[in-house]
Amino acid sequence: MKRVFKLPSLSSMPPWFGLLVLEVVLIIGMSIIQPAFISSSNLSNIIRSAAIPIVLGIGMTFTILTAGIDLSVGSALAFTGILLSGFITHMPRFAAVLLTVIIVTAVVGGINGILIGKIGLNSFVITLGTLGIFRGISYLVTNGTTRTIDTGTLINTLGDGNWGPIPGPAVVVIVVALLSVWALRSTYFGRDVYAVGGNEFAARLAGVFTSRVKLTVYFISAALAALAGIMQVGRLQSAAPTAGAGIELTVVAGVLLGGTRLSGGVGSITGTVIGLLFLQTVSNSLTIQGVSSYWQQVVTGVLLGAAVLFDRIQVSYASRRKYREESNVTKE
């Protein structure tokens, strides 16, 4: 049987396309119901609060693409703030930021990367461990108190201020996202990330240093967590050991919502950015409508379940169609 015409099929769209449509519908719908939603202050509010999860989510995308996961990003974020609060009184701000980011990347990324990438331990277990370790250290150092920090303009711009007419955090997100898109698309390392997650044995057989690729993604994730930690300090003008508690789960949810598969090999930075932006828009909409924040967690859960279910339906539909086409070829 020959098909005469063909509608553009759902499965040929990028997996985040449906979510983008939903996001647009949500924005239009909300601005009709609640004109305050579309005000520039509210929109910039959404962007500011989405920026930190997105930066973390981009790092998370790297680890999940290799079929791993990094649960330690929230504690690394808090640890960064605490470390910065210590350094900043002893040296110029810029040097303090640089030193903090380097130390967090080396220590958190090093522990995760060596244990998971080099030794081959389970990423869930190891990062669950580092989650506990760095959260605990942050509490120990501060004795549970929040430290206020005189941030100066640089840190403040990164986390909260404006860079010309554009919110600073938005600039950070755009730069990080563009760099990551480029890295994943146009470098050997980026393609290796997909290859390792898609079929590790095949990658190894083709000569890819699979352990080195896995090690690197945890460094990237830790570096971005450190950057997010600096942004958080800039936003709150303080460092708290409780900062970013539980945020890793929101981040994972957004990454998966954006079409990245937990089993690795499939996913995109674009999807992650849209996924987390969507989650933030939903939670902002609910807040603006006066819905309890408890409900927001329920909604996030439902959305995640629906997204995974939708993905599954799409995949099995595509594989059935593929099978039919293939058997038509062989039966000719």
Partner: protein, 495 residues
């Protein structure tokens, strides 16, 4: 530049299982060298060692006379050795071009990878293999024989000097085999040393310049093409020749039907409208190529795989689609993958064996009774083990499989289905398992044996069913079957 390779005194053990013992092989540029032997004879292991995927326990590899020491795939690739493995080693969701250049052979410019040029070069490489596909297509959307060409293109792209092909034809139709061989000959003429594993006699004889035969992990013989014919190979590959069937088919068809499968159709399209029946005391072979839908079919029969339509009828009663119901009705399956589907690695031999009777009422399950059950099966099947509380993974493949079969039989089945039951099992244990199956059949059990090995199908079956692309294409009585009939039915050739 060309290289010759010499592997000497290679030995390799996997835990308790001996995979290679003192094997040697010489490869020369411009030659196709076939490594022949039954499944489990160690052929794949030998190739994997040369490719640097695994490391030999003993023995040396010499490249052009100098000893080399491969720590990983990269080392062997540096010498121009590439392997096209049996299980397709492609990254499913990446593009065709990317799979061709996997491992850093993409074109680069100042901005990173130059996709335009990479795609263009991929098309050129694929054209050399007579394959015209969109280089941007996701590789998993290609039919299997095209996927294989993509893997070979990858080897050519990395400038291979020694090409290892592990069962490249196992899932190809004759026409596709021909185009693959044309490529292999072309590479050979360019001075590449090609090593191939195949199970099909005619193909081996067609393409090879040299043969090496392994049996039961040991080197048996090697020869150039001149001295080799089918008998030469069979004499060296197989220890005991196929036996006569125990029953004549006519005799068996008179006995009652135990299992009837009617109009089975897969929910995901792996098989459609399959009907057949099994008679009491009959051993039926189910042959076909990988991906023909045999595993899905037998799993659907026992309720493990979703089905769209069809009935399973045991002794005239329709059984509902559930594993529990099917087992209670007397149909049990020994699955194809011991590691993933049938053994629980860290659990003891005893617990693995008793798994199927956990549903029995408590009072029937005293410790003494359980011990008796285990002892009985261990002595009956001659299961070699240190003690029943050792983890099942400490056993050799053949003994693990005996435990799984014992577990199935403990449910007192009427029908036993075995899916690739002797894969990765040494010859001695294989023969024991065949004997067990014959004994069971003579006591009235109906047995369905799914196998990709023709020798196994011929060895044991009273009747042979063949599947191709989800259809049942042949139902042959023992006296009528020939290798060519089964192969043509399995590859979809209409006669």
């Amino acid at each position: 530049m060309t290289v010759s390779v010499s592997m000497t005194n290679i030995s390799k053990n996997f835990d308790a299982v001996r995979a290679l013992q003192d094997v040697h092989i010489d490869l020369f540029p411009g030659e196709v060298h076939t490594v022949a032997g039954e499944n489990g004879s160690g052929k794949s292991t030998l190739l994997k060692i040369l490719a640097g995927v695994i490391k030999q326990d003993e023995g040396q590899i010499l490249m052009d006379g100098t000893q080399v020491n491969f720590q990983g795939v990269r080392d062997s690739m540096a010498y121009g050795i590439t392997m096209v493995s049996q299980e397709l080693s492609l990254v499913p969701h990446l593009s065709v071009a990317e799979n061709v250049f996997l491992g850093h052979n993409q074109t680069r410019n100042k901005l990173g990878i130059d996709w335009k040029d990479t795609d263009k070069r991929a098309v050129e490489f694929l054209k050399r293999l007579n394959l015209e596909v969109n280089p941007r297509a996701e590789v998993s959307t290609l039919p299997q024989h095209h996927q294989q060409m993509v893997e070979i293109a990858r080897a050519i792209a990395s400038n291979t000097k020694v090409l290892l092909l592990d069962e490249p034809t196992s899932s190809l139709a004759p026409k596709e085999v021909e185009s693959l061989f044309a490529v292999v000959r072309q590479l050979r003429d360019e001075g590449v040393a090609v090593v191939m594993i195949s199970h099909r006699m005619s193909e081996m004889l067609d393409i090879s310049d040299r043969f090496t035969v392994l049996r039961d992990s040991k080197f048996i013989d090697t020869s150039t093409r001149a001295g080799v014919d089918e008998n030469w190979l069979i004499d060296r590959m197989v220890l005991n020749k196929p036996k006569k069937a125990i029953h004549s088919t006519e005799e068996l068809l008179k006995t009652e039907v135990v299992l009837e499968v009617k109009g089975m159709t897969d929910l995901f399209g792996a098989f459609q409208d399959v009907s057949f029946s099994l008679h009491k005391g009959e051993i039926v072979g189910l042959a076909g190529l990988a991906g023909a839908g045999r595993t899905e079919l037998v799993e659907a029969i026992v309720g493990l795989h979703p089905r769209k339509a069809g009935d399973v009828i045991v002794e005239g009663v329709i059984v509902s689609h559930s594993t529990r119901a099917t087992m209670n009705a007397g149909v049990v399956l020994v699955p194809d993958d011991r590691r993933a589907k049938s053994t629980i690695r860290d659990m003891s031999i005893r617990d693995n064996l008793l798994l199927s009777i956990h549903g029995r009422p408590q009072k029937q399950r005293s410790r003494r009774k359980e011990e008796k059950i285990v002892d009985e099966w261990v002595s009956k099947f001659k299961i070699k083990m240190s003690n029943p509380y050792a983890p099942i993974s400490s056993l050799s493949g053949g003994n693990q499989q005996k435990v799984v079969i014992a577990r199935c039989l403990e449910t007192n089945p009427k029908v036993l289905i075995l899916d690739e039951a002797t894969r990765g099992i040494d010859l001695g244990a294989k023969a024991e398992i065949y004997q067990i199956l014959r004994d069971l059949a003579s006591k009235g059990l109906a047995i369905l044996v799914v196998s990709s090995e023709l020798s196994e199908i011929f060895e044991i079956s009273d009747r042979v069913l063949v599947m191709h692309a989800g259809d049942l294409t042949a139902n042959l009585a023992r006296k009528d079957i020939s290798e060519s009939d089964v192969v043509s039915a399995a590859t979809g050739v209409r006669t």
